[in-house]
């Protein structure tokens, strides 16, 4: 989570977005967590009892990360962030917007 916060600063002004999907936190825990970890990006809140988006993506372990390119294609799926892959995708998105 702290690492994600750094990414927001690192890619400030470039075509990059983080979309969080919270699973299974109660409302109180969720609000506390957002405060504690300084979560500033958009995040879906699914409530504590069901997680339809996580189910849709068949998420088995947490965290699960997806990197999606500017066309909507999944280019990475896993549990650990690959900084180089991300940098590559942001670069691709920039190239595409200049074309």
């Amino acid at each position: 989570m702290p690492h994600l916060r750094e990414l927001v600063e690192l890619y400030d002004g470039r075509p990059f977005a983080i979309v969080g999907v919270n699973s299974f936190d109660g409302e109180e825990d969720y609000r506390k967590g957002v405060e504690k970890y300084g979560l500033t990006w958009i995040s879906a809140y699914q409530g504590s009892s069901s997680a339809p988006i996580s189910e849709m993506y068949q998420v088995q372990g947490y965290p699960t990360l997806l990197m999606i390119d500017h066309t909507g294609k999944i280019r990475f799926r896993g549990h650990n962030l690959e900084d180089d892959t991300l940098e590559g995708l942001v670069h691709e998105a920039e190239e595409a917007s200049q074309r």
Partner: protein, 229 residues
Amino acid sequence: MNKVLLTLSLVVFPILLASTLLGRETAGDYKALNAEYQTALAQYAKAYKAAPAKEKRALRAQHPGPAFWPRFEELGRESGRATLWLIANSKHSGLKADGLADFKRGAYDRVFGMKNNAAYLVAAVSALGADARSVGTEFVESHLRGLLKGDCSRQAKGVTTAKLGELLSSSKDEERAAEGKKMLEKYVAEYISKGAMAIDFDGTTIDGHEFKLSDYKGKAVLVDFYGFW
């Protein structure tokens, strides 16, 4: 207990009264009605949580569901979303076993038969997939197969493929189970794995702001499935 009940009635009944006086509703009013229901529900939940254990049982009779039921029912004649509300909240209908299953089947027929149901089709498919025990697997299968043949969004096709795959793969019939397994594999490969075009999803923030994954097209997007627990 009286105090709790009183607080609740002071909140719920004026809302009900006010809206009765305002007259008939139309299909466009779903959002407003639902917002009103959510407010009443939150008040109820708060009072319920605060009530001492021995009073909780009596308090349950104050759930706003039954009072809102006829209003969603009225709206449901024209509104698919209101019909989905009725399905999700059918325990407040007062209907029992067979009557309830009949009601749900009729409601699903209506939702899937509606012309402009694209915006809530995915929600309808998810609800139907989870309702097989109540409405019957044949009923679910026939609607899902109908959707796959028909014209709907890629997101709806994907969710339908996953739900039908799940349903069939648990079949005792070998051939059907194999068909289901194949569908599930197709879903995983074409919608949620590396190399696939990511299936779109609808998210709501804790403050009720709605967004879609596809809103971020054109950017590199990091999707983080996480929990604070």
